[in-house]
């Protein structure tokens, strides 16, 4: 079962997101108001471990389970799309209190209106696709 491992990793992710409280609208408010170290501690330690492990995997040329190179492609060089896109996402993140990962996890936590939040995000993605050629990248 090729997809079973992704399902299990996803379940782990949902549990981690819930128990870390990173899915909490309140925690995102607290983060952007600099009133707790909690979210910065999560992102900081995730990054510290992530940087060390990713560089180690690259230096050892480790392959994935099916023998392919790891999906660690360099991102296209640019400033405009990352800055403008990032700002628009940040506006939405601070308002809705959820980035995409937590959105899915919140539905599992029983917050059913988050389904509308996800559909709105799908609509936003669609409108980006329509306007893409006209936006600075």
């Amino acid at each position: 079962m090729k997809f079973l491992k992704f399902l299990l990793i996803g379940i782990l992710f949902g549990i981690v997101m819930t128990k870390s409280e990173a899915i909490s609208w309140y925690r995102i408010q607290e983060m952007f108001r600099f009133q707790s170290f909690h979210m910065y501690g999560i992102i900081g330690t995730a990054l510290a471990v992530g940087v060390v492990m990713t560089q180690w995997l690259k230096s050892k040329n480790i392959k994935s389970v099916d023998g392919q190179p790891l999906q660690l492609k360099d991102k296209e060089k640019s400033v405009a799309r990352y800055l403008f896109g990032g700002i628009i996402f940040g506006l939405g993140w601070a308002l809705s209190g959820a980035c995409p990962g937590p959105m899915y996890t919140l539905v599992g936590n029983g917050y059913t209106t988050v389904i509308i939040l996800i559909l709105s995000a799908v609509a936003g993605t669609f409108v980006y696709g329509v306007l893409r050629e006209r936006l600075p990248h």
């Binding site: 910065y40 506006l91 939405g92």
Partner: protein, 185 residues
């Protein structure tokens, strides 16, 4: 063990667990980036027929949809069997700030005052759920990634574009929190 797991996890446990999820996805042949699933949903819905951006091989991204389906299940498991019986330990300063906007801290993960179905029909609820969601979907695709793809995966891979994106996330977040939020609420 269950009692231990049911407590909110401290940041120094949660952070490395998120890195573990990222590393497991790499090992499994994927990559950590949740917002890509929103593009897949558009493609599956047939958006590729009229918009070129959605005309791509979404079938190669099914693993990511399975991953987020797992995230729903994981949220369900954590909510039903590992739930924290205590109210969220939100800082007093945040509770006071939100009170100024007439948002009462209810101890849960989300303020039901804003995220209930009846709230959806109010202007504030519409902004938080519909406008907020739209901006997240538009912005993540424009930036080519969200918190998982840029802030965790991208920065772990020392990508300068991801650093620019994360700086953007915070510029946008601070503009919303300190300039726009007081106008909406």
């Amino acid at each position: 063990m269950i009692n231990f797991l049911s407590q909110p996890w401290p940041w120094y446990v949660s952070g490395p667990m998120i890195s573990l999820v990222m590393l497991l996805l790499l090992w499994a042949g994927g990559q950590f980036g949740v917002s890509g699933t929103l593009r897949s949903v558009c493609a599956i819905g047939g958006a590729g027929k009229s918009v070129k951006f959605f005309d791509y091989d979404w079938k190669s991204q099914i693993w990511n949809l399975v991953f987020v389906a797992g995230a729903v299940v994981g949220g369900f498991i954590a909510h039903h069997w590992l739930a924290n019986p205590e109210p969220l330990a939100l800082s007093q300063a945040t509770i006071a700030d939100l009170k100024n906007f007439d948002i009462e801290f209810d101890g849960g993960l989300m303020p039901m005052q804003l995220f209930s179905w009846s709230s959806l029909a109010t202007l504030k609820g519409f902004f938080v759920i519909v406008v907020g969601g739209f901006l997240v979907g538009f912005g993540t695709r424009y930036a080519g990634g969200c918190t998982s793809g840029h802030a965790i995966s991208g920065l772990s891979n020392l990508q300068v574009p991801s650093l620019i994106a994360v700086i953007g996330f915070f510029i946008g977040g601070l503009i919303m929190t300190f300039l726009l939020f007081p106008l909406i609420f």
